[in-house]
Symmetry: C2
Subunit: 255 residues, 2 copies
DNA sequence: GCTGGACGGTGTACGTCGTACAACGTACGG
DNA sequence: CCGTACGTTGTACGACGTACACCGTCCAGC
């Protein structure tokens, strides 16, 4: 189990599925009742509704109106995850920002990723190292690299920066998802949670031992209205990240 | 299921466990065969050996030499995760870097977190929003805030920066874990994986369609000897992040 | 046009998980 | 000294992914 990762199986088979390679479609046997796209679409629907933990082969099969095991005719769960991710990447809008400055273009890349994770929070949970290089992944990668055109950095450094940017946005999305999940299945909002925690903390916490933690923790909680504000963390973090890239770019292209 | 998150249950109960609140220990009934620390220690051992996916109540009970259900007398799985995380945080070494510059001190904080995730990769997988404020968490937070003493930033901004730093290190640790996991349970190293993928990609990829992706992807792969080099990603990303913080700090304390 | 065999769809079954529940034994408070 | 609160345990339930055997379908080669 635990296939919350892409490319778990045979890469050749996975790639054939991703690119809908016609040589891998069998010639004999009865007609298929469904096609791969229908399966992937329904799987995305399940994950959108119930999250990655709610994505089960049984549920996908139910939505499709077929028996559970029929889904395996099209793809196992590992391959299904690859296909789902590639499908949402292929469908994601990609704005043309050519002509603007690198900071604005790179910021737009971050925003596009953020929108994707907003629409499909489960996508932030599947890791994409050793990525399934499907058409959606490739188109996305090509588009996101283009945002750095003319910034003066060499190819390898551009890839490094993009990797960090994408990791940052994915982390924000995961945290935002964790906040939602905590709210949902504890049935408590932050205020209720703190109301339950405060009396015990008051009895047990020695303020002299943690002066900075208590002062700063309370200040941060007041400032954001919560222990963790995903919206603020994203905006703040993105600016710091872009500032860091700017140092590198200014060094490469002295003004 | 899916309790890979902290503080899933009643906060008051969880906190009482974290701080070993004696008022929550019952007075009647037979003597307990174990103590909470033994359970937590064994659980950490299981997770160190088999990862978070391999952490099951049955396995913890086996190690302790008791029946599965006995573990629930001490803590459910949700609380157990909180307790495990707090325990490894409490045990982690914290170097005294007072007197050095903020960049070195903050870098040391990152390195300490990295060491923790190296020793306990599963710790990077449990999210800590709405954190279980146990003694280990508090000591860690206090220590990490101290690294920013005298840097000139206000309290809320220090918390923002620390949050981003910790998120970055955790993301690196997760990615490194994903690389290890991919290697382990695909039974393929990167070279083998690419050897399987290359023929299909050659047949299916139109180079004219993805000029940057192919050029830069290959350059990055050559430079790092792999599709993703966690060590390089960490070193590169940390410098960019610290550069970004430096912009903020220089603005706060003009030289 | 025929037929062997390749293939799609399905029901059953196995081993995994977290944990609810009831039965049983223990040891403290009154 | 005894009622009862509590620890320990075995059994059981409903999830999960998916291996496997079975049956029915339909194409390739003749």
């Amino acid at each position: 189990m635990s296939p919350d990762r892409t490319s778990a199986g045979d890469p050749a088979r996975t790639l054939a599925l991703l690119w809908r390679d016609p040589t891998s479609v069998p010639r004999r046997g009865p007609r298929r009742a469904l096609d791969l796209d229908a399966v992937v679409t329904e799987a995305i629907g399940v994950a959108d509704d119930d999250g990655l933990a709610g994505l089960t082969m049984r549920r996908v099969a139910d939505r499709l109106g077929v028996a559970t095991m029929s889904v395996y005719t099209y793809a196992g769960k590992d391959d299904l995850l690859d296909l789902m991710l590639d499908a949402v990447l292929a469908a994601a809008p990609r704005a043309d920002t050519s002509g603007r400055g690198w900071r604005e273009r790179v910021g737009a890349v971050a925003e596009e990723n953020r929108d994707l994770y907003r629409a499909h929070p489960w996508a932030a949970e599947v890791s994409t190292l050793r990525p399934p290089l499907g058409p959606g992944q490739m188109a996305r990668y090509e588009h996101e690299l283009a945002a750095w055109d003319g910034c003066g950095l060499d190819d390898v450094t551009i890839d490094d920066c993009l990797t960090q940017l994408l990791g940052f946005v994915r982390t924000c999305a995961r945290d935002a998802g964790a906040v939602r999940a905590a709210r949902r299945d504890s049935g408590m909002d932050d205020a209720q949670w703190w109301a339950g925690a405060a009396p015990v903390l008051a009895r047990v916490l020695d303020p002299a031992r943690y002066p900075r933690a208590i002062r700063i923790g309370e200040a941060a909680g007041r400032a954001h209205g919560s222990a963790h504000d995903p919206e603020h963390a994203y905006r703040f973090g993105l600016e710091r990240l872009l500032d860091g890239f700017a140092v590198l770019i200014d060094r490469a292209v002295p003004r």
